[in-house]
Symmetry: C2
Subunit: 643 residues, 2 copies
């Protein structure tokens, strides 16, 4: 059906065979998959562009990603780290990973989850141990001003434990983590871009969080799935408190927000409210669920909410049954074909686009019409859909350039399809000559998320596209049963997409954003005064005892710690505070205590502390673990614990 | 003094300024640094080669590291992960990280430290929690057959907690971790290459481990540093039991082994046995300490050992005082200038080379002469030194090509110096016309370890050199106070070294090996029968209760778990066993339980288990965390815990 205008039959056979293989592997067990061709768009239109074989596509632009030693990248990428529970920072176009920001999961390099400061951010049990040590981060998005990234914050989710973390983009550190109450499977996340009421507030003040799994509320443990519901949460961007939640039907996947601040939306699968996967895909259409943010907040203000269990967070009712009257509705459920995956806002501010996943379609929803419906000016909500066109098998996520084109991943076809939004709207209106599909590019293999440089901002620049492929199979040297995933980097500046590079990545990163390096201004040295526990003068170092409670104060200046040795008694409850007085950029020290499970770093002018019980007598050589000086190996202090 | 034949004075000034800056930053506090020129080699010889500025060096070979999408690397690299406590696997020449093998530190991606199987390898406290969650890996080396890597095993150290881990190179997993008794600061590590007695055993059977920090033995906590000693340990390559230990003077840094299996050695700083850094560098010469492996093992067999504390490991006396008679000595302390760093075996099997660190020299020790000394044929042990030549400031580690050349990192000069070993020997013998320095390359910045492809094997091929630079400073986009380190990749196939690429890396990786991809044959699917707990038929899934002890058996086949739901009672002691029955390569599933801090993966045909107390009542959606199928999001099972 596809690839009609390919030149050689050999290539035809190869591509067809590849697709056959991919579909066989990936479709096992999908009884309810919508067949190609039963949707408004004709197969002919979708097939008008040729599939470009990746080997051929890699042409003169190949070296665009290779920087000479010392050359700097021009873009940053913020990447969700997947199950490593952190945020990855990439330099692009090289694709080099230049940092990992620990968030939800301990990080033995920096001592995240070891120091008292990081444990406070992560959250502890009553016994002082960490509440959680696993996470599943999916989506990351950054704060906006005037429709573009402003370099203040980024946020990232933990799906397993329903937590949201905030990243400060001055120091590239996580400073807050919030638990979403009564939520299981927190999935999509998106900051707002403008205040829905006060137009003057033209920057991010809220972050929206989609709850995926429906559960009993409160979680009584009932088996009756029809009583389960999910919650959509709004978190304050500054305080990181949960402002409000909305009770909803269906399971949230991704989240998008409008540039005018008035609408947030989440695409939903399992509006059937099934508890087994075949039930979850029984309906032909699911939903893109819109929230009228101003009305939700007015309802909260008016006291029209309940609370659930121990949580004090106001919860308003956003179920379909409670929101039938457009004039008072808090929510609007626009229908979208079968288990949609992904909702993305076009950079012109006009549309949200949902992908069909189990339907081969992309659905374009015009935001002004959704607002019209809320205003009682549009009779049928679904007439907000201005296009629903066939894109290929397994459409998931969509990115944009600055020339009206969209790029959608096709999981089953293992392709990225480039299509023109205006042409799709024309085609949907009835102009069957409108060729909306512009190009197709095979990717390796089975793409999930993709994103383009500044795609989700008004400053979309149509330069680079990154695609997270879920399987790498044969693309890298074999390393045992666990394969890396394959993030591919694509030049989208021309008519045809050009595959530039394959980058292996540990599972399971998902979403990411790409922006120009000028937008952030990182600080490379901390301010001593920002740390209340700082020891500013090495002379103030020493051991202070208060019964069994002992405080050890120390400073580091290459190649020595201010204390040559310090003495404790067995059973002491020790808090050790280390201040790095070195001021040279990049001059980080580490501090490890053998057998005491302590290792952490102090960056220039940083102070960090650890607490432990001195339960093992003996001599323990605490040493600097972060190379700092020619005498780094000799940089030690003796902890002597008297038995 | 250096750079005499550089063409432009502008370049001269720039390089001089750069060196001035580097030295000022890195030398602060080194009172005892040996000045350039007070060693046997003259400054003139060292200055005979020009410093090649990195920008100029990056010429036509620049794209050698850029692979087209889908092209495979030709070399593997095994890299110590530093404080992330794992082993990194790189593909080279691209420098892409294709895997991380969890060892000493929990890994939330694979569930290392979460599953019962991984906890057994890592070691737990009596309460079942992990003994350690931090580590400091430095050195990694692989098993040998006939003087070259054989693709069976690699080993890696944890300096903080004195642990050694073994990696299986068929599945790229860690299968054993051993605690070294009575050791603090386990640093260098090297497998033997041949049996010292039975010549027919021409492969690795032992791994040698250098103990760095001297402590009271047993660790009484005495303050008197003169009573502290370190231990050098031998671990059995197969059983991973500690075979024996040697009590020694000084602090071990790196370890090297001879191709004939007869000698192991460690370079030593602080033979002064100081406890403060200025004492540690007071002596003008320290040592390269050789072990006569056969004699040590004969002494153990003869019962000439003691044990320390609770440990049953035999400890023989290798101190200088106890080993003055060459004919019976177990050890030989060859003198090496001031706090040497690094000892490396030349691929021709003839020499060990130590670097001076605080002395600008490289010391070449001829192994046949050390054996002569043990045989009573060499009067003065130090006449085993056949060269001691000036290389530059802060020499640390040495790698080799297949043409008789050595490459040594100069930490303070921030260079790699290429020098010819035979020419150095000639120069040392008195031929002052012998120009042993062939080339110098500035690196960015302050290099520690370096290694070349197959450098530490008989198959050294002189193709690629990687250098771990401890500071990246301005080489990558800024990411806050914690900079990545900079691993640089260099072409050494020609006369001049050519810098190919900068690769950022999380601190603090150290040592690594590079070898041809043909040498390993990874398996990509597990064998079901290798897991005693495997559930081979989905029909055998279910919940088996024995009082409060509950076993849950489950299988995974995309897109479903064999149990749709399973019921527990609050307080149950649960062991959940999951077998992945999918056989397709790369088809890994994950299993997360919200709020229960459980997430782990099962690769194709793998079985893993977790144990937990069902202490929270309610409905918990356990879900597949590793993308597997178009219906991945729908792949869930309900854990219902009755209150």
């Amino acid at each position: 059906m596809m690839n009609k205008d390919k030149k050689t039959t050999a290539a035809d056979a190869r591509v067809a065979g590849r697709r056959q293989f991919l579909n066989t592997a990936a479709l096992v067990g999908i009884g309810g998959l919508a067949a190609c061709g039963d949707k408004p768009a004709s197969a002919g239109a979708a097939a008008s562009a040729s599939a470009s074989a990746s080997a051929a596509a890699h042409g003169g632009a190949a070296n665009a990603t290779h920087l000479k030693p010392g050359e700097l990248d021009t873009y940053y990428g913020l990447w969700s780290g997947g199950h490593t529970g952190d945020m990855r920072v990439l330099g692009l176009p090289s694709g080099r990973e230049i940092h990992r920001i620990p968030c939800f999961v301990p990080d033995a390099l920096v001592g995240w989850g070891i120091t008292n400061e990081s444990k406070k951010v992560m959250g502890t049990k009553p016994d002082g141990s960490l509440k959680y040590t696993v996470a599943d981060t999916h989506h990351t998005h950054a704060s906006y001003t005037d429709g573009n990234y402003d370099g203040r914050y980024a946020w990232i989710n933990d799906k397993i434990n329903a937590r949201i973390a905030r990243i400060r983009l001055d120091y590239f550190i996580c400073d807050k983590i919030t638990d979403l109450p009564n939520v299981q499977g927190f999935h999509g996340i998106f900051p707002d871009k403008r205040d829905p009421v006060d137009e003057k507030i033209n920057h991010t003040t809220r972050v929206f969080c989609g709850g995926e799994f429906a559960i009993p509320l409160p979680n009584t443990g009932t088996e009756d799935g029809s009583k389960y519901r999910a919650l959509f949460s709004c978190v304050d961007a500054e305080s990181m408190e949960v402002r409000w939640q909305v009770l909803i039907d269906g399971n949230c996947d991704l989240v998008a927000t409008s540039y005018d601040g008035k609408l947030a939306a989440t695409n939903q699968y399992n509006t059937e409210m099934g508890v087994h996967y075949e039930d979850m895909m029984s309906a032909e259409r699911d939903a893109c669920l819109f929230f009228n943010v101003a009305r939700v907040e007015a309802a909260v203000k008016a006291g029209k909410f309940k609370t659930i269990g121990d949580s004090k967070v106001p919860v308003v009712d956003g179920t379909q049954a409670a929101n039938k009257d457009p004039k008072t509705a808090l929510t609007a459920y626009v229908s979208v074909p079968k288990n949609p995956h992904g909702v993305n806002a076009s950079p012109d501010g006009k549309y949200f686009i949902c992908s069909g996943k189990l339907s081969p379609t992309g659905t374009v929803i015009e935001l002004s019409r959704v607002l019209d419906w809320f205003d009682g000016k549009l009779e049928k909500l679904d007439s907000a859909i201005v296009a629903e066109v066939e894109l290929g098998l397994g459409p998931l996520h969509t990115a944009f350039d600055d020339r009206g084109n969209a790029f959608t991943t096709l999981f089953l076809d293992s392709q990225v399809v480039k299509w023109n939004v205006d042409a799709a709207i024309k085609f949907h209106k009835g102009d069957k000559t409108a060729k909306y599909v512009i190009d197709r590019l095979d990717v390796q293999y089975q793409p999930g998320h993709l994103n383009a440089s500044h795609s989700e901002t008004k400053a979309a620049d149509g330069k680079y596209l990154a695609v997270g492929c879920k399987f790498s199979k044969d693309r890298f040297l074999p390393v045992g049963p666990l394969h890396p995933e394959n993030e591919q980097f694509i030049d989208i500046s021309g008519e045809k997409m050009v595959l530039l590079a394959d980058h292996p990545v540990r599972g399971e990163p998902h979403d990411f954003i790409i922006f120009k390096r000028e937008l952030v201004h990182p600080k490379q040295i901390y301010a001593l005064d920002d740390f209340p526990l700082a020891t500013k003068d090495p002379k103030d170092s020493g051991v202070v005892r208060n019964g069994k409670k002992v405080t050890v104060r120390m400073t580091s200046q290459a190649p020595a710690f201010s204390l040559r040795e310090f003495k404790l008694k067995k059973g002491d409850e020790v808090t050790l505070i280390l201040t790095n007085l070195d001021k040279v950029e990049d001059l980080t020290h580490g501090f490890a205590i053998p057998k005491y499970n302590v290792n952490f770093i102090v960056n220039p002018q940083e102070t960090a502390s650890v607490s432990f019980i001195a339960d093992k007598p003996g001599v323990f050589w605490c040493y600097c673990t972060h190379f700092c000086h020619a005498l780094h190996l000799e940089m030690r202090t003796r902890m002597i614990v008297e038995g």
